[in-house]
Amino acid sequence: MECRAGADFVLVAHADNAVTTISRQDAELIFLNRKRRWPDGGNIAVVINENPKIYDSFSYTVLKRSPRQYLIFRKKMLFRGQGMPPPTVKTDREVVDFVSAHINGLGYISPEAVTPAVKVVQVSQ
């Protein structure tokens, strides 16, 4: 599987990020807060996009769970004292703004929302 322009969503990172591809399993670990570092050691700054057009697809495809299950997962992390959940936004535009403002940022948006301010990261199986 590859997630790229034409699919429901694409992963996007900061335009200066050297990473071009990550595995589906790594993407899952990153958004579940189990993998927190880019290969260069930088702390991955995740943003969750609740845009209803792509949220279900992202959640089921990458995380293998429903959006509600993902919400409960984040609440467990928070209320157990094991970590802070990532920030949540409602639109692709906010994701682009977040990722372009964070050198270690990572999010997902609709393919048509990609701008030069961010870079598409391919997801391999």
């Binding site: 399993q25 670990l29 189990r34 993998k35 509600r68 467990k76 928070l78 209320f79 004292g81 920030p87």
Partner: protein
């Protein structure tokens, strides 16, 4: 009630602060102070009713003193360093009456994905659900299966002061494993059920032996606690497994005199959870090897056995129906004899039906009914006139979280 407290001023202030949060517009309930600071919390109100026995308090006429309020703050000070804490007000009948305590209080340093460290008051990994036992909206039932998550031991198993190593280890196509290794001590409150139960033993001994014990000076202390946990996240969708282990040593004293000892040589819990479409099955098995003494006499030395099955069906994501069968024996090799105990029925078999409805992402309603055979877990403390073998209880709970 052996220890009672008027509602302290700081508790009233805490209630007021939480009420103010509830009155704020929904969009401001969860507070993000920039990217690096967050404030969240919850409020629960429950109702508990029993027949044929009292359970955790004076419940046979119905009990509304069944509420929790939590408020937490987290600050990510650097990419690797986080501090956070949660204050918890827990009013559960006679225990934890009207006091605010630290539920967890953590300084965390994340060296790398396979290795991080936490110091402070840390939630204890035990089975699948122990770490969320104070957050009702995170677990399937109001009362977790008592064979493993005994409510009267909540203070023992809830959290410890000390340290923890943790991390995640990828296993390639097999999935990944989260691990935790921890050690420290438990800090018992004077009005924890664990302490109150020992005080009751001391009072009874005093009445029988005329020792003139100063029970008000009784304290329960934990000498040490250690343990570890492995949580396996399978690449097979919906499958999760866990293996957790811990040991601890408690003593209760009046001044310098040891009244009771309670040493858990090992508590091992093996867990399996599998979700398929609208169905979910959870099973856990535990054995606890421990030795207990009272006034120098050994009252228990052996291994208990506990297991449960929880089958859940969700016709829609917001609504879940569950059926539970839960079984506990105080001594796995001597199931029906009350060795060293006044309890004539030292087991607990629980058949329960439960409903959970997530009204919104923030509001959750639960209801459940339990049919019990047996009187394990301090039932003689709640029923000093004698606990009945067959009894039932039901509970309702409404939770708000932000």
């Amino acid at each position: 009630m052996l220890f009672s407290h008027p509602l302290p001023v700081k508790t009233k202030v805490f209630h007021l602060a939480v009420l103010l949060f509830l009155l704020l517009p929904a969009s401001t309930w969860a507070i993000d102070l920039g990217d690096r600071v967050q404030v969240h919390g919850f409020f629960t109100q429950g109702y508990l009713n029993t027949n044929n026995n009292k359970f955790l308090g004076d419940t046979e006429k119905g009990l509304f003193e069944f509420r929790e309020i939590g408020l937490n703050i987290n600050a990510q000070l650097t990419d690797k360093f986080r501090i956070g804490g949660q204050a918890l007000y827990c009013h559960f009948s006679e225990s934890n009456n009207g006091k605010i305590s630290s539920d967890w209080l953590v300084a965390e340093y994340h060296f790398a994905d396979p290795l991080g460290m936490r110091l402070g008051k840390i939630k204890m990994a035990m089975g699948l659900y122990n770490m969320e036992r104070d957050s009702d909206f995170l677990r399937p039932l109001i009362f977790l299966p008592q064979s493993i998550y005994d409510e009267t031991r909540r203070d023992s198993w809830q959290a410890h002061w000390g340290g923890e190593m943790y991390g995640n280890l990828p296993l390639g196509k097999w999935g990944d494993v989260d691990y935790q290794l921890f050690g420290g001590r438990i800090d018992y409150d004077d009005d924890s059920l664990a302490t109150l139960a020992v005080a009751e033993i001391a009072l009874r001994y005093d009445a029988e032996e005329g020792e003139n014990l100063n029970v008000d000076a009784l304290t329960r202390d934990n000498d040490y606690l250690y343990g570890g946990a492995l949580f396996y996240n399978s690449s097979l969708e919906g499958l999760r497994a866990a293996l957790t282990f811990l040991g601890l040593d408690d003593e209760a004293r009046i001044h310098n005199t040891v009244i009771t000892t309670d040493k858990t040589r090992s508590k091992i819990v093996a867990s399996l959870e599998y979700s398929w479409r609208k169905w979910s099955l959870t099973a856990e098995y535990a054995e606890t090897d421990r030795r207990q003494t009272q006034f120098g006499l050994t009252t228990l030395d052996g291994t208990s056995r506990a297991f449960y099955f929880l089958l859940s069906y969700s016709p829609m994501e917001e609504l879940t129906f569950s059926v539970l069968y839960d079984e506990y024996y105080r001594l796995k090799n001597n199931r029906h004899d009350p060795v060293g105990s006044r309890n004539l029925y030292p087991w607990r078999k629980d058949l329960a039906g439960a409903l959970r409805y997530d009204i919104t992402d923030s509001w959750t309603f639960k209801a459940e009914w339990h049919i019990i055979d047996g009187t394990a877990f301090y039932m003689s403390y709640f029923n000093p006139e004698g606990a009945n073998r067959y009894w039932q209880y039901g509970a309702l709970k409404l939770t708000f979280n932000f």
